[in-house]
Amino acid sequence: MFTGEDLILACSAIGAGLAVIAGIGPGIGQGIAAGYAASAVGRNPGAKGDITSTMLLGQAVAETTGLYGLVVAILLLFVKPLI
């Protein structure tokens, strides 16, 4: 009834779920960056354009570690390298 392949598929799904927990870190980091950007705009509304582009660049770089987790999850779910 259960084959080894089923077990690997089930464990891959669990592993994919665990891998996307990596999203916690970038989420916190991006929130902190956005908070500081908001307070910077509050202090100096004239520099809004520069602050926004700097914030977006920093957030996109901070996002990378979360994306590594996402790539691992996608590999486990759709490419199924373990079977």
Binding site: T64, L67, V71
Partner: protein, 236 residues
């Protein structure tokens, strides 16, 4: 449960091979990515020809097409010279070129194509081009100082410095790939999984976020980081 199982078979996110051929005993495939890239290239060429036609008979008071072309060139110029300073003139063409290519590739998901940048082969090549440009300009500008720079601050860190050089194209390409791929996966899941009622209207908002917004941001970030890395090495 049964409904979910049948829907799961409709999920369509992978690259599909359309046509295979043999070369030097290896099997190669023409995939959906090639077709998408050809369509994107054709679009860019058509836009360029239209812009060229309108600029050939340019006027004192610009018309619509001339206005748009001038706006695009001015904005790209502003981005490059804003972050590269006096080195900008050498990199204007390259950055403008990859900016337009990546942007049109990213937003091609709206028009029903599978975005070419959702294939790791494409983004890795873009990352490798950036890597070659970084190293070439670093060696050209810093000469011998480039190699001694790898042993700083202390010689034992040499392997770490080399690894961090090679991590640059990997992180650049994985960032672009991960963002566009996640958008593609979420759109495919949405189209396959939700009841018919939510397939009307709602996907428009999702497309605006995942294709337009994320695509534009990632294009900007890729070009910005390329310029920052090159500038870093040139100022050494």
């Amino acid at each position: 449960m049964n409904y979910l199982m049948t829907a799961a078979n409709d999920i369509d996110i992978m690259i599909k091979g359309l046509f295979s051929y043999k070369l030097f005993g290896q099997e190669f495939w023409i995939t959906t990515t090639h077709i998408s890239i050809l369509i994107v290239m054709a679009t860019i060429i058509i836009l360029a020809v239209i812009a060229n036609r309108s600029l050939a008979k340019k006027e004192e008071v610009p018309g619509t097409i001339q206005n748009i072309a001038e706006l695009v060139v001015e904005k790209l110029d502003g981005i490059v010279s804003g972050s590269m300073g006096e080195n900008a003139s050498k990199f204007r063409n390259y950055i403008g070129c990859i900016f337009i290519f990546i942007f049109i590739s990213n937003i091609s998901g709206i028009f029903g194509l599978r975005p070419p940048t959702a294939d790791y082969g494409v983004t890795l090549m873009l990352g490798v081009i950036t890597f070659v440009m970084i190293q070439y300009n670093g060696i050209k500008v810093q000469k011998g100082g480039y190699f001694t720079g790898l042993f700083k601050p202390i010689p034992i860190l040499f392997p770490v410095n080399v690894i961090s050089e090679f991590a640059t194209p990997v992180s650049l390409s994985l960032r672009l790939f991960g963002n566009i791929m996640s958008g593609t996966v979420i759109m495919a899941l949405w189209y396959a999984m939700v009841p018919i009622f939510f397939k009307l209207g709602v996907p428009a908002a999702l497309h605006v976020y995942f294709d337009l917004f994320a695509g534009a941001i990632q294009t900007y970030v890729f070009c910005m980081l390329t310029m920052t890395y090159i500038q870093d090495k040139m100022n050494g």
